[in-house]
Symmetry: C2
Subunit: 252 residues, 2 copies
Amino acid sequence: MPRGMKVLVTGASGRIGQAFREAYRDYYSLRLIEHRNPVHASSNEEVVSADITDFQSILKAMRGIEAVVHLAADPRVSAPWDSILKLNIIGTYNVFESARLSGVKKIVFASSNHACGYAVREFDLIGPDAPIRPDSLYGVSKIFGEALGRYYSDRFGISVICLRIGACHEPTVFFKRVLSSGGKSWYPPEKYIAMWISRRDMAQLIHKSLEANLKFGIFYGTSNNERKIFNLSSAEEKLGYKPQDRAEDHLH
Amino acid sequence: MPRGMKVLVTGASGRIGQAFREAYRDYYSLRLIEHRNPVHASSNEEVVSADITDFQSILKAMRGIEAVVHLAADPRVSAPWDSILKLNIIGTYNVFESARLSGVKKIVFASSNHACGYAVREFDLIGPDAPIRPDSLYGVSKIFGEALGRYYSDRFGISVICLRIGACHEPTVFFKRVLSSGGKSWYPPEKYIAMWISRRDMAQLIHKSLEANLKFGIFYGTSNNERKIFNLSSAEEKLGYKPQDRAEDHLH
């Protein structure tokens, strides 16, 4: 079977990159960016060496690419400004601009629940249209990426889907950790459970974002958890996202 | 009469800085940042040399300051990324972070109508809660500043007021220019007329923002024009802003 779109993945060695690749490496023709961490590619994945903070290297990696899944970032909520600036702001600009120059038609951008982290603490249910409430410089950088995506979509006609990803972790270990953290984690434990997303739901959400015929959208991504903190209805309606897993099935 | 709050003004030599200073230099105790352009201070204004892209210099300028009016930026809608990054992103972070370290309680941030410029083109009336639609990297940098302000307000308790400023120009020349531009200006001429703000209304809006007892807010700023494109009611209600001028009085 001939494989689908030629998709570049930044952050290919990370948790979310691995989840997406494992589920869809036979469906798409994947090109993976390798930078510091080894990517451990399978035989039908292409690996290129590039650095999102180096414009020329990422521009070179874009050649022939139809869609980009931009996951690379400093993922630490408490990351300091110097690193946020370099990786999440300059790096994200480099990815969008090199994609535009290369004729890329679609970008899926890994935003984060931390773009509205203060709302997560204060409210029971949040949708993608709520006023921005970043809880960190990391969260501010995700709002920057969403704004940049909105601009590239309006100005250059690139389809940009921003995913405010919940918490994509192996459930048993993760829930044990947050439940025993004694209030020392970023959010209260029950919020982490409500924002959990399984690896296969995460992969499906990226896949649906790549296939969506949509100019721009911001969507929250969690599994079909019994207790929800994020409104998934727009992702279900506009992307056709159908989460298959439930946090509560892994709690005991 | 003893003068009020000790206020630092960045961009003091610009159009908006001058309008604010002329109206309120006797009311506040103003410290003006001078960088490239001469500030032409009056005798009751203090001038310090500093560069918002140099963290140590701006930190030094913050000593003893109670409130900041942050106007300095690359003001060109078509400014290239390198300049936007340096002045509007890094510069704005430096101002917020040095203000925080210096115990500043209030920041008034000059955002812009270009934060939602695509909405200006598409809709007849826009409020500050509309989804972000930046029309330029400049507009993206203003969304970044608003997000940073929201974070500094939520996290550190600093009162941050973001003003999405319309078009603050001398009316006769400005209206003549946009009406004769033959569709070559950024927005259609009638939108510029609708978003005009007089110098004294601009000064009043900054003053009301400095005095407001409000944790965070985003407000549009225009005069009391007959044809409005921005909803001013939240600025009127929450800040007590009472614009005195009207674009239509200067059209003939």
